[in-house]
């Protein structure tokens, strides 16, 4: 699970109103090289919940020097875009779980795939 994906994921347990963002508890993280496309990253940024991204990266120990606030005029700031690219696409959680911030319910991640299936009583 990449952090870009994580940015979209939310807890959908019945009754939960603040299920986003999910807390990442990772037991295995991998960093791989992904081709950098500045245009792609630049267009992706407005779609992100920035603070959730920062929180997630920080939780994994991969924040490095990603700023807590979005910089202005990032479109042409290649250095910044590279930092975002790394965090969004190169850091992957392979094993661990995602925890609902409200209910505490844990959704397992195994072999890179989050299992977001709910039990009958949660749906």
């Amino acid at each position: 699970m990449k952090l870009l994906t994580h940015n979209m994921l939310t807890s959908h347990v019945k009754g939960v109103t603040k299920g986003y963002p999910l807390l990442i508890k990772a037991t295995e993280v991998k960093v791989s090289e992904v081709e950098f496309n500045p245009n792609f990253v630049s267009r992706m940024i407005p779609k992100l919940e920035w603070s959730a991204l920062v929180q997630a990266a920080d939780g994994l120990g991969h924040l490095q020097d990603l700023p807590a606030e979005l910089v202005t005029d990032y479109e042409k700031n290649e250095e910044f875009l590279r930092k975002v690219h790394r965090v969004l696409l190169e850091v992957e959680v392979l094993e661990g779980c995602l925890q609902c911030p409200e209910s505490g319910r844990e959704f397992p991640i195994s072999r890179g795939v989050p299992n977001m299936l709910l039990n009958e009583d949660e749906a």
Binding site: T10, N37, N39, V113, M116, E120, A123
Partner: protein, 423 residues
Amino acid sequence: MTVMEEAATRLEREHVHSVYEKIAPYFNDSRYKAWPKVRQFLLEHEPGSIIADVGCGNGKYLHINGSVFKLGCDVCRPLVDSAWSQGHEVQLCDSLRLPYRDSCFDGVLSIAVIHHLSTKERRIRAIKEMARTLRVGGRIMIYVWAMEQTRRKFQKQDIFVPWNPNPPSPTLGREQPTPRRRGAVQSMSECLYSDKNRKVKSTSSMLEKEEMTCSPHQSHRLWFFSRSLDSVFDFGSLTISRSTSRELISTVSSRLGEAEGGKVGRRGRGAGLIEQLSSLFSGFSRNNSEEDVFDSVTDLARSQRDHVNDNHSNSTEKTSVSTALVQECGSVALPDLVSSYQKERTEGPGRPGEKDAGPPGDLKQDSEGEPAAASCLRYYHVFREGELVELIESHVEELHVLYSYFDHANWCVVAEKVQVWNI
């Protein structure tokens, strides 16, 4: 959960989810050629878009358009694992409860998915869930199997389809994008992809109009017809006559194509389904006539059982025999019961009368170790013309239908998310 919800959930678990889990290893793991209009939909999104494929299966659409971010989800673990091993971002989830925040996607795909939901209400809920995750202005493309096929119609809308492996064939003209394999972590499903399994293909993304036959005896596709759960639970029609019981199960044709040792035509597990339905309804305070229906069905089932042969003595699996009767359905090839030989032809209108078959011997080879078709009945609600559009226009106000069309045995809709103002 209401009784109807419970019935629907059980039906789908038995005749959708568990079937796909069994047949997942037999899906070819290299990419099928995406249908042109689906491909076009994906390519039309601007770079940096985020697209979700809800019900992505083994991820066959997730490689298209490298400039957009795609993620897929499905309820079938082996298929999801397979997609992940190809380098895609995928999650396990249920289409009725998507784990995504509101308005986060620019595009959503729903290709051959919602026809597996067994009630109208659930189909609407699935569409609404996908609409929820779309941003305003974002678009969704939905494909569902059509009741109206090129040469004839399905007689009923709610059907059970036996799964059949296809005979092996060379794969010609198929797109083979470079998969981004995950070197370090091998998914279990990858290990299942032995060469033997690669011969067998089944996908709901292929639409074929030609008849798939392996011999003159096997010239008939077999479907089990059923009443929809919606109609069964219609309390306005409590009186159910014997003629209705025949609707539920139709006369079996003995030409169930076991010719030449082929797998085609193995008995379905109609009895199991009927017993399951029967047990769900037995708690109901219904007219006696209703219970008579199900009793008569199971009696019929038992008597039928004695008359059926089974060719595969070497199969360790319990080959339960067909009880529910199978209606002979003529020569319409189901969209995903496709002979691989069909792929050699150009996509286009079907040519009736052409029979293409693998050498019978291949079927024998393939017959080892496969799940019995008996236990692989998939439930489908096939859509009438206009039904999908009507469903959206009447029940999903947050979607505006842009256009709809018929594409290779599917009814298709593209709709846009609109802002709804609730006063």
